[in-house]
């Protein structure tokens, strides 16, 4: 489904925008640490959300602006019912396979293992987006 998040402007939804710089990743992680009680997720679920989100943000920093000056890194999150949803967006070229990747190549499989649904694409405003849904309810 195109669009940003299924839930928009709900009481559990936040939008975070930073420059696509490695230091921004620690900021994203630190902010998202505050979601445990607000989203009603367990520590184990929050760890899955943090690891997958950090991996997606790392991909944006490493790959999305490789042919242009770094732009923005956007993280949108919210609860869809009892399901945590996080979208990581970039205004560059998105995540494309590359043979000269500086990473280990385990980021996307790791994200896939930690999420119940994973979508790559462009949102209706043309921005590249990785949308992750996580298992809901008590772990």
């Amino acid at each position: 489904m195109p669009g940003r998040l299924i839930v928009v402007d709900g009481p559990t939804t936040f939008d975070l925008t930073l420059p696509a710089h490695p230091d921004a990743i620690t900021c994203v992680r630190h902010v998202l640490e505050g979601l445990e009680s607000e989203w009603g997720v367990s520590r184990e679920q929050l760890d899955d959300i943090l690891i997958a989100t950090v991996e997606a943000c790392t991909n944006v920093v490493l790959h999305a602006y490789r042919d242009r000056p770094p732009g923005l890194l956007e993280v949108h999150g919210g609860m869809d019912g009892d399901t945590p949803v996080v979208a990581v967006r970039d205004h560059g070229i998105g995540m494309r396979p590359r043979t000269d990747s500086p990473g280990l190549g385990v980021g996307l499989p790791l994200i896939g293992a930690l999420t119940s649904e994973l979508h790559f694409g462009r949102s209706i405003d043309g921005v590249h987006e990785v949308r992750m849904r996580f298992a809901g309810g008590e772990a």
């Binding site: 936040f14 902010v31 505050g34 607000e38």
Partner: protein
């Protein structure tokens, strides 16, 4: 010397418990990338806790835009756009709470009117 790695950042969050949970973390992480010392960074967090608590009281059904600019010697935090008069109410509520944290700990506090008739509350910490 190179500039800060994060020059600007934004957080858009509903006023209420989520703002209380996320805004201080947002400010803390950016203060860590600024030239603020440890004590001033801690005070920046206290200011953000006061702001988010006052917004949760005064604007329970609104969303809050928080924009942070890392300046040469600290942080500039811009809250809003807010309805005209709301920044003054936030400051008054903070004063009435008995702590007056915002004015006491910020280097500068001012209200910036926008062309849209709305206002922004600007807090500078150096």
């Amino acid at each position: 010397m190179s500039g800060p790695s994060i020059e600007r950042a934004r957080l858009h969050v509903p006023c209420g418990s989520l703002a209380v949970a996320l805004i201080p973390r947002f400010i803390r992480s950016l203060a860590a990338h600024s030239m603020l010392g440890v004590d001033r960074a801690g005070e920046a967090v206290l200011v953000s806790e006061a702001v988010s608590a006052r917004c949760a009281e005064l604007l329970p059904d609104d969303r809050l835009h928080v924009s942070v600019k890392v300046i040469d010697d600290g942080l500039e935090v811009l809250l809003g756009p807010l309805a005209a008069g709301v920044p003054a109410r936030i400051l008054a509520a903070d004063h009435l709470s008995g702590t007056g944290t915002i004015r006491a700990l910020c280097t500068a506090v001012d209200v910036r009117p926008g062309r849209d008739g709305r206002e922004r509350l600007r807090l500078t910490l150096t």
